[in-house]
Symmetry: C2
Subunit: 444 residues, 2 copies
C-alpha cells in the first residue's frame, strides 16, 4: 500500500507524493514514516497540511517524535503544541528528555505552561495523568438548541464530544448529558430537565486501574474527573483506557514472571536497564533455592545409598512448579478481573484441593506404571516417588490457590505470588516429603 | 449503599422499595440482585419498570439469567427478547442450555428467529459473533437535517449511534459519518459531501483479536462489519472490544501457565472441567522431565563420588527456569502487542545474549562468594557450580527469547512457549552442562 509513496519519494516526485499522501489515514502515515530514514521523515512531515501533520505526529513513535522536535524550527514546534490534543501533549512531554521539554515549553503560551506544569505533577498512573481538558461544558439553564450551538462553536474532535458535562458557576459537576440525548430532544427543552444527575466520576488522584474498572463495569465511553474540591478538571476517554488495560496486563505478566515492571517497550530499552529489571528477583529466588539445597545436603546419606532417588528430583520439582503455577495464575487473574473476591477464600481452597487430588492421582498412576514398565526400579522406590508426586501436586495447588488471596489481605500485589515464588516454596516442601517418605518406606 | 434496599426487602416494605430502586444504576442493581436468594431476585425483577428490568437483566450473571428465564412467564420472556439489544441477546443464547434457548426462541418473532439462527452460526470469537445489528443506516443523498430526523425516529441507545453508516441500495458500505460531524454541519449539506469514504471495516469471519487490534491502532469507538458480498451486516462497539481484550489476555495468561484456555469463570466451573484443563500439560511436561532424570541416571557414578553436587541441582534448575521465563514472557507480550515483529529475531537474540551474560555473571559471582564463605565446599566444586549457572542463564535467556518468535514462523501460538516448556528444556541442557563440567574440572 505504502510502496507507491516510497517509490515517489525515491524518484523525488514530490508533487505527486503530496497528492498521494492525502489518500492515507494518519495512523498508517505515522507507521510509514517510522520506517523511513530521519531526513525523509522530515520531508514528508513538512509536505503534509499543518493540521494533518500534527495528527500524524501524535501517532509517531516516541524516538521519532524526539528527533523531529530536535530538527524543526521553533515556529513549527509552536504549531504542534497549539494543535495537539492536551492529553497527547502531556504524554509527549512525559516521554521527552529534559532538553526537548524545555524547547517545547519555551514555545507554549504562559497560561498553557502553568497548566502543563500542573498536569505533569499528577502522580504516575493516576486519573489526572491520563485525562484531557478538551470536553464540552454546559450550563443547566441552557436550552437544547443553545447547547448544540455551543458545541458547534467550540469544535472539539474525537470522542470527547459524546458526553457533555453540566457545571455550576463554581465548576462543580451537576450532571451529564449524552450527545445522543441532545440530538434526540426538542430544541427548546431545558438541559436541567433532561440531564442525568446520577454521574459516575473519578478523582484526579484515583489509580488508573480503578478508573479502568469503572469503564468496564458501567460500559462507559468517557468519565469526568474532579479535583479535591469536586470541581470538574478533565475527562478520560475510552481510547486511553484501552491503553491502560493493556499496560496493567503487561505489568501483571511481568510481575508474574519475576520481572520488575518497565514502562518502556522491549526494543527501546537498553540492555543494562533490562538486566536491572531481571536481576533482583533472580537473586532472591536463587538464594531461596539454596534452602532446597540444604535439604538435599541433610539427606546426603539417603541419597548416597539410593542414588536413583536423585533421578526423580527434576520431575518432582517441575511438576510441582507447574501445578502451582496453574493454580496461582487462575486465581491471580480471577482477582484482577474481580471474578474472585477475598471472601471466596474457602471456596477456592476447597476447589483446589479437590482438583489437586484428581490431577495428582492421575499423574501418579500414569507415572507409577511408566516407571515399573520402562525403568528398572524397585516397586517401593516407584511407590515412594509417586506418593511424593501426589503430595507435591496437592501442596502446590493449595499454596498456589491460597497465596494470591492471602497477599491481598496483607495489601501485597497478588501477581507477585506467581510461578517463580510458588516453585521455590513447593520445591522445598516436596523434597522434605520425598526424603521423609524414602526413609520411612525404604527403611533408610 | 444497597443496605437500605435489603432492609426494605426484609421488612416487605415493597412500595418504598419500588421507589428506592429508581435511585440506582442498572449495573449496581444487577450486582445487588446477584447476591440475593432467587425468590427475592424475582420480586425485585418484577418490581422494576419493564425497560429498566430488561437493562438490569442484561447485566446479571449467566447463572441467574438462566434461573430467571426458567421462572418467568412466556409473556415476560417475550418482553425481554423484544427489548434486549440484539448482541446482548445473542450473548445470552450462547450461554444458555438447550432447553432455555428453546424457551426463548419459541417466543421470538419468525424473522427474528431466522436472524438469531444466522448469528448463532458465526464462528466463536469471530467479528460476526460479537457484532450488533443496531446501527444508524443513512443514504448519501440525504441532507444533514434529514439524517438527524432519521436518527431521532429510530431511537437507538448507547454508543451505537455515534457513527452513522452510508449504504447504497444493495447495502454495500459507501461511507461513514460521525454524529459529531452531523451535529456540527449545516442542515442542508448533503451527506455525500461530508461523509468519509476511507472506511476501516472488518469481515464477519475475521478473528476478534484482529478486530481488537484495529480498535487499538486507529482509536475507534465503533467498527462496521461486512459479509462476503461486502454488504453491511452489523457493527462492533468499543465496550465489547474491552471484553475481547480482557478475554484474549486471560487466554494468554492461561496458555503461559500450561493451562488449556477455558471460556467460563473459575468459580462457575466444576472441578472435573478445571482438572481436565490442567492435566494435559502436566502430563506432557512430567514425561518430558523424565529425560532430565535419565541424564542424572547416566551420571550416577559422578553423583555417587561427589554427592554434594546434587545439593545444587534445585538452585540451577530454578534459576534457569526463572531466567528463561523472564525472557519468554517479555517476548510473548511484545509479540502480542505488536511491539516486536518476527523480523526483529536477530535483535532479540543479540539483546538476550548481552543481558544474559550481564545477569549470569552477576549471579554466578554472588553465588560463588556465598558458597565459599557459607558452605564448606571445595573451590573447584564452587567453580563448577557457578560456571554451570552462567551457562544455564545464557542458555535459558536465548531459548526463552528465541522460541516464541520461532513459534510464530511455524504458525504456533507463541504463548505456548512460556515458563513450563522453557523450564523443561533448560533443565535438561543445564544438567548435561553441569555433569560435563564436573567430570572435566573435578577429574571424575
Amino acid at each position: 500500500m505504502t510502496e507507491k509513496l516510497l517509490e515517489l519519494l525515491k524518484d523525488k516526485k514530490y508533487k505527486e507524493l503530496k497528492a498521494e499522501l492525502q489518500e492515507f489515514n494518519s495512523v498508517d502515515l505515522a507507521d510509514f514514516m517510522d520506517e523511513l530514514p530521519m531526513d525523509e521523515t522530515l520531508i514528508i512531515f513538512r509536505m503534509m497540511p499543518k493540521d494533518v501533520a500534527v495528527e500524524v505526529f501524535s501517532y509517531i513513535s516516541v524516538e521519532r517524535q524526539k528527533e523531529i522536535i530536535n530538527s524543526i524550527t521553533d515556529k513549527e514546534i509552536k504549531h504542534i503544541i497549539d494543535e495537539l490534543f492536551f492529553d497527547d501533549m502531556i504524554d509527549l512531554l512525559e516521554e521527552m528528555p529534559a532538553n526537548v521539554v524545555k524547547k517545547i515549553l519555551k514555545n507554549a503560551k504562559e497560561e498553557e505552561r502553568i497548566l502543563i506544569n500542573h498536569f505533569l505533577n499528577y502522580p504516575d498512573n493516576s486519573a489526572g495523568s491520563i485525562m484531557t481538558i478538551e470536553y464540552v461544558d454546559l450550563k443547566k439553564n441552557m436550552t437544547v438548541r443553545q447547547a448544540i450551538d455551543h458545541i458547534k462553536k467550540i469544535e472539539l474532535d474525537k470522542e470527547t464530544i459524546y458526553n457533555c458535562y453540566i457545571t455550576n458557576p463554581n465548576r462543580r459537576l451537576e450532571g451529564i448529558i449524552s450527545l445522543r440525548r441532545l440530538v434526540t430532544s426538542n430544541d427548546d427543552q431545558l438541559i436541567e430537565d433532561i440531564m442525568n444527575t446520577d454521574v459516575i466520576f473519578a478523582s484526579t488522584h484515583d489509580d488508573q486501574e480503578e478508573v479502568a474498572n469503572l469503564f468496564k463495569k458501567y460500559d462507559l465511553i468517557a468519565l469526568p474527573v474532579v479535583d479535591k474540591e469536586n470541581r470538574l478538571t478533565g475527562i478520560i476517554t475510552i481510547d486511553d483506557i484501552v491503553d491502560v488495560i493493556e499496560d496493567e496486563n503487561t505489568e501483571d505478566f511481568e510481575k508474574m514472571a519475576g520481572l520488575q515492571p518497565s514502562e518502556t517497550e522491549y526494543l527501546d530499552t537498553n540492555i543494562f536497564s533490562l538486566a536491572k529489571h531481571r536481576i533482583v528477583w533472580l537473586l532472591v529466588l536463587m538464594i531461596s533455592a539454596t534452602f532446597t539445597g540444604r535439604i538435599i545436603q541433610s539427606y546426603e546419606n539417603i541419597l548416597q545409598s539410593v542414588v536413583i532417588l536423585a533421578a526423580f528430583i527434576p520431575m518432582l520439582m517441575d511438576t510441582g512448579g507447574n501445578a502451582g503455577a496453574q493454580s496461582s495464575t487462575l486465581i491471580i487473574r480471577g482477582l484482577a478481573l474481580g471474578e474472585i473476591k477475598t471472601k471466596d477464600f474457602l471456596r477456592v481452597i476447597f476447589k483446589e484441593f479437590s482438583i489437586s487430588v484428581l490431577v495428582g492421582l492421575s499423574l501418579a498412576t500414569v507415572n507409577f506404571i511408566r516407571i515399573l514398565v520402562f525403568e528398572n526400579v524397585d516397586i517401593m522406590i516407584a511407590f515412594t516417588v509417586n506418593l511424593t508426586l501426589l503430595v507435591t501436586v496437592v501442596t502446590a495447588k493449595l499454596v498456589g490457590g491460597a497465596l494470591p488471596i492471602v497477599a491481598i489481605k496483607f495489601k501485597v500485589d497478588p501477581a507477585i505470588m506467581a510461578s517463580p515464588l510458588i516453585t521455590t516454596i513447593v520445591d522445598a516442601i516436596s523434597l522434605v516429603v520425598y526424603f521423609y517418605l524414602a526413609s520411612l518406606l525404604l527403611g533408610l
